[in-house]
Amino acid sequence: MKELLETMITPLIEYPEYLNIDVKEEPDKAVYHVIVHQDDVGRVIGKNGRVAKSIRTVVYAANRDKTRKVYVDIM
């Protein structure tokens, strides 16, 4: 899942070297904290959060473990 996020996000941003994804795994959920360069935050969130929403949609589709919900936070 972390690799999926990297694959999706890297081509969208200007400073891929600042991209960092922290994972917090819990029994019933996994939380992914996406951290990007300050100037890239807008690119990853998008107008009205449209990019962020699309990223989440693809991540949910990729998650096959239905007992565990996946969350994506962008900061």
Partner: protein
């Protein structure tokens, strides 16, 4: 390799050697002449030509790569065919288990389409529009929407009141509007703000 500097006894020769090295053709590169060079006389005062050759970004290639990389991370192996018409790229995806890539009412496909468009535009010089299709999904969806339009128009007429459809992206609303344009007994409109904008069908008084 995307860019290189080459020398030769003439500009053409320098460019040709760079093209051979980059394994590409002249229409797919930008050439910048750094030094025209000089022929000289009997080998005296001759200066080589120097050119800088840069491969143009191939947006179709980028589209394919983005889709395939994301699909691979979802555990799906897909092949992608692209067509380009001016500022529009159309990509058709096929492969096993493609339903997972389409999602409910195409929401995954639409999300991937938007992300691919953003990724391509991050390196494009002009604004490109990217459309993804998967095994004829868009065409099937078009037929479904046309039928839905007819059914809902009938409903509006029978009830003599407006009927609101569920929210849809702009290109899907467009299909509904177009399907009912020639129906004189109803008129259509869109209400609400994206992404919750939806078509409203009203009987004509």
């Amino acid at each position: 390799m995307k860019q290189m500097t080459a020398t030769g006894s003439s500009v053409k020769e320098a460019v040709d050697s760079a093209l051979a090295e980059l394994r590409t053709t002249e229409d797919r590169v930008d050439v910048e002449i750094l030094d025209e060079g000089r022929k000289g006389f009997l080998g005296f005062g001759a200066k080589p030509s120097i050119v800088k050759v840069t491969k143009k970004k191939d947006l179709e290639e980028e589209t394919v790569a983005y889709i395939q990389n994301v699909a691979a991370q979802m555990g799906l192996t897909v092949s992608v065919d692209t067509k380009r018409k001016n500022r529009e790229i159309y990509a058709d995806i096929s492969g096993e288990d493609i339903a997972r890539l389409i999602g409910k009412r195409g929401q995954t496909l639409n999300a991937l389409q938007y992300l691919t468009q953003m990724a391509v535009n991050n390196s494009a010089e002009q604004l490109m529009s990217v459309t993804l299709d998967a095994e004829g999904y868009r065409e099937r969806r078009r037929e479904t929407l046309k039928q839905l339009a007819e059914r809902k128009a009938e409903q509006a007429l029978v009830r003599q009141q407006q009927v609101k459809l569920e929210p849809m992206p702009s290109y899907e609303r467009k299909i509904i509007h177009a399907a009912l344009q020639r129906n004189r007994r109803v008129e259509t409109d869109s209400a609400g703000k994206d992404p919750n904008r939806s078509v409203v069908i009203r009987p004509v008084q």
